[in-house]
């Protein structure tokens, strides 16, 4: 296979601190190279250099044998390098076709020629077997469909190298398979892909080679078939991780949270479940199954049309989230940046957000006590920070998530609702998060865990509630909890015509 890209001896330092130490990366035509490493290993920096967002302090980039200088993203694009970002940024109000042609509209005397744009868009989508109409607005598409449009857009720029940053972090397993089919099609058209993912179990399905980074260095580059998941993890973390899903000796006790016949039009319908003390109850389902909406309603952030909640046998009515918090319920939300943290505040301020009032002295902030409590949490959860005055924006995903956890653990909750607690964080931090959840349930607390990674639920949950299109389609227990069974229950039952 022809070598199309070679990055050699790339060095990058930020304000005097070297974050990439002479890193190499080669890419062949029509191959998928998996780039893995913990958060902060330097993957993103390396890719930013390739995209022209950052400039290396030393080293060279060769494209098809020629040394190139990539000054900016526009240059990268013209050289045939495109990136599909983790957080997609289409303009939701615009149609697929309009998004495709942003910045290069086909026009006649300054008027946009939508017809021609739509026709071209259709051609590109058809080439990749993507069944989406060019006239649909972006906001009506699912995340996975938006992703496919982005890929088609990249291809429409004649890109030869595609960088995919965590493309599967927010899509369902079924959509993952569709994405892989698409990637295979790209390979056949001799497009090369650099595939960044935390989901190691996907890699054998899609990657040809795997390059592992740690602390700004390349630890190993090998053919995918030579590497097991365990090997990869070892190289990533630099030590053995016995298992991502630590053992948990919990005893399941009395019901502490009962949800009866919860219904909210368009979101969920007649959902009932019971969470016991000391139990880890998983909620599985595809995107849009109504899981997030359900826990938001349980937490009092929204209000169901009908249905009741019982906490330790007592019927409750939560008008606001603070009512739920008063009854020892905590919600670790799906998106820590959107709902979990105040990014411009520091670690201490975020951590004490829910207890400020409790520790206050007649309305005045008790900084000393807050800092003390924040510090105990930082130590307890081994959050890696320089100081509790550090702004949370500058922390890695895993550490940010731990700050969210710390905030909630300080409220001393009995019922913990976790919505995608491990999204976008690396293997090491994942294991730590599950360890923490285990500690909580072993103290007799109840944990509700929503996860789109079925493997995760199989690994940690005592029981799994499966939802599909807003309804509960089954409850699995013990040996019944398998990925196949969850998948079967989570898929919509539309018989093929």
């Amino acid at each position: 296979m022809k070598q199309i890209l070679s990055m050699r001896n790339i060095v990058k330092a930020f304000s005097g601190v070297e974050v990439l130490h002479s890193v190499d990366l080669t890419l062949h035509e029509g191959e998928v190279l998996a780039l893995v490493g913990e958060n902060g290993a330097g993957k993103s920096t390396l890719m930013k250099i390739l995209m022209g967002i950052e400039q290396p302090n030393a080293g060279e980039i060769q494209l098809n044998g020629d040394i190139v200088k990539i000054e900016n993203p526009a240059r990268a694009l013209s050289l045939g390098i495109a990136m599909i970002h983790q957080e997609l940024s289409p303009i939701p109000e615009m149609t697929v076709e309009e998004n495709m042609f942003i910045g290069r509209e086909i026009n006649r005397f300054g008027f946009v020629d939508s017809k021609k744009q739509a026709q071209k868009t259709r051609e590109w989508l058809n080439k990749l077997n993507i069944a989406i109409s060019p006239q649909v607005k972006m906001e009506e598409l699912s995340i996975s469909q938006m992703q496919m449009v982005e890929i088609a857009k990249a291809i429409s720029y004649n890109s030869r190298i595609l960088i995919m940053d965590e493309p599967t972090s927010a899509i369902t397993e079924k959509e993952v398979m569709q994405l892989f089919t698409l990637i295979n099609l790209l390979k056949k058209n001799s497009v090369s892909v650099i595939y960044i993912s935390h989901k190691l179990h996907e890699l054998p399905h899609i990657a040809d080679r795997v390059e592992i980074m740690r602390d700004g260095q390349i630890i190993s580059v090998s053919s995918m078939s030579d590497m097991s998941e365990k090997n990869i993890m070892h190289d990533m973390v630099g030590r053995e991780i016995s298992t991502i899903y630590p053992k948990c000796e919990n005893t399941i006790g009395e019901p502490i949270l009962e949800v009866n016949h919860f219904t909210k039009e368009g979101e969920f319908e007649d959902v009932s479940f019971t969470l016991h003390s000391g139990e880890k109850l998983g909620i599985a389902g595809l995107m849009g199954a109504g899981r997030t909406e359900l826990v938001s309603a349980v937490f009092g952030a929204t209000h169901p049309d009908s249905g009741t909640v019982l906490v330790e046998g007592q019927p409750m009515r939560f008008n606001t989230t603070s009512d739920a918090i008063d009854h020892n319920i905590a919600l670790v939300p799906e998106d820590r940046k959107l709902m979990g943290l105040n990014l411009i505040m520091n670690v201490a301020e975020n951590t004490t957000m829910c207890i400020d009032q409790k520790v206050s002295k007649s309305g005045f902030i008790n900084k000393k006590e807050g800092a003390r409590q924040a510090r105990t949490m930082v130590e307890k959860l081994s959050i890696r920070i320089q100081s509790i005055q550090q702004v949370v924006e500058s922390l890695s995903g895993g550490n940010q998530q731990k700050v969210v956890l710390a905030k909630w653990l300080l409220t001393d909750p009995k019922i913990l609702l976790f919505d995608e607690p491990t999204r976008g964080i690396d293997v090491g931090a994942k294991a730590e998060i599950f360890e923490l959840i285990n500690k909580q349930v072993m103290q007799g607390k109840g944990a509700l865990i929503i996860s789109s990674e079925m493997q995760e639920l199989v690994g940690v949950a005592d029981r799994v509630l499966v939802m599909c299109e807003g309804k509960v389609t089954g409850v699995l227990e013990g040996e019944e909890i398998t990925q196949q069974e969850i998948m079967r229950l989570a898929s919509p039952k539309k018989e093929a015509v």
Binding site: F299, P333, G340, Q389
Partner: protein, 336 residues
């Protein structure tokens, strides 16, 4: 014992990781930069204009700055929650009319009534703004723009465009006296600024203001009553506009329905110069106070130089852009 020591070391490490004394750290210069800008400005003015550093002139600056200052402090609170209040100038005018009406020789009500009436009228407007923004979900810009228009109209309608004269002497003294060698207005400004400083930096409610402005969703999910916080803040802003109106009536010794036009922009400008972010969640009352003084010194300097107020407006625009430019630059450097 050794374990204890280790613990202490750790705590120290968590507390403070730089050994440079604070006053020499980059953080210090960044957080006090605006203060040094004021110092430099005053020095330049003092050297180039002998008339600047005279007692009557300085008192004049403080007097002028105090009126904008009270509004700007309130505006800081609003901006911190991620909102904006464009209606302060008009609300001020209504309060000005109300206070003037109450203290005319014919009515002869006490000063206390005038204060309560003015502040109360302002607070009612603030409350309406707050309800519209927090509960009906009007965008702050739209809601307060409506107030801007409606309140001005109300002020004009109240006397059919005519000013109210003949206020009683006691009331006029409020804004035009000297206490302890300083103009009385400065005490109102200082009082409001100190209270707002304590509110924002020392109380739980103050932290909620920052939390709502920094990330409204996260605040809501943390159990903070976001709507209530907003309602209270707009009501405070309204009450402060009302207070400004009362002080204004006393200062101009009349009730004038056209008073305060464009004051919202001065208040916002002072906040922006002082480093308050228009997107909410960051900034401080101290910054705003310095911003107010910078604006005051600049416009006074131009007055001394005999530059017309029209040119002053052009300069004010440039100063605002310059201040924000410096702010953007320092942020960019931080992110590098």
């Amino acid at each position: 014992m050794p374990q204890n020591k280790q613990e202490k070391e750790k705590t120290k490490l968590l507390n403070n990781n730089h050994d440079v004394p604070f006053y020499r750290s980059a953080q210090f210069w960044k957080s006090t930069g605006i203060f040094w800008a004021l110092v430099v400005l005053v020095i330049v003015m003092a050297i180039s204009q002998p008339a600047f550093l005279t007692r009557p002139n300085l008192i004049n600056i403080l007097k002028q700055a105090s009126i904008t200052g009270v509004l700007a402090v309130g505006m800081t609170l609003v901006l911190l929650t991620g909102g904006i209040d464009l209606g302060v100038g008009s609300v001020l005018a209504v309060a000005c009319m109300a206070a003037a009406y109450a203290t005319t020789e014919e009515q002869g009500w006490s000063i206390l009534v005038a204060f309560m009436l003015g502040i109360g009228v302002g607070a009612i407007f603030g409350l309406i703004n707050g309800i519209g923004i927090a509960y009906v979900k009007f965008a702050p810009f739209i809601m307060t723009m409506a107030t801007l228009s409606a309140a001005r109209g109300l002020a004009l309608v109240s006397t059919n465009n005519r000013p109210i004269f003949n206020l009683n002497e006691q009331f006029i003294d409020i804004s035009n006296s000297i206490y302890f060698g300083l103009p009385s207005l400065i005490f109102y400004f200082a009082g409001v600024a100190i209270l707002a400083y304590i509110l924002t930096k020392k109380t739980v409610f103050g932290k909620w203001i920052y939390a709502v402005g920094g990330n409204e969703n996260a605040a809501r999910y943390s159990g903070i009553h976001v709507k209530r916080v907003k309602l209270i803040i707009y009501t405070i802003m309204g009450a402060l506009s009302g207070l400004t109106g009362v002080l204004m009536a006393s200062r101009i010794t009349s009730g004038n329905p056209t008073v305060g036009e464009g004051y919202e922009l001065d208040a916002i400008a002072a906040c922006v110069i002082g480093g308050v972010s228009l997107s909410g969640g960051s900034g401080s009352v101290i910054g705003t106070v310095i911003g107010v003084l910078i604006l005051g010194v600049i416009s006074n300097g131009f007055d001394i130089l005999g530059i017309s107020s029209n040119y002053q407006r052009i300069m004010k625009g440039l100063v605002i852009l310059f201040a924000v430019f410096i702010d953007i630059r320092s942020r960019m450097r931080k992110n590098d």
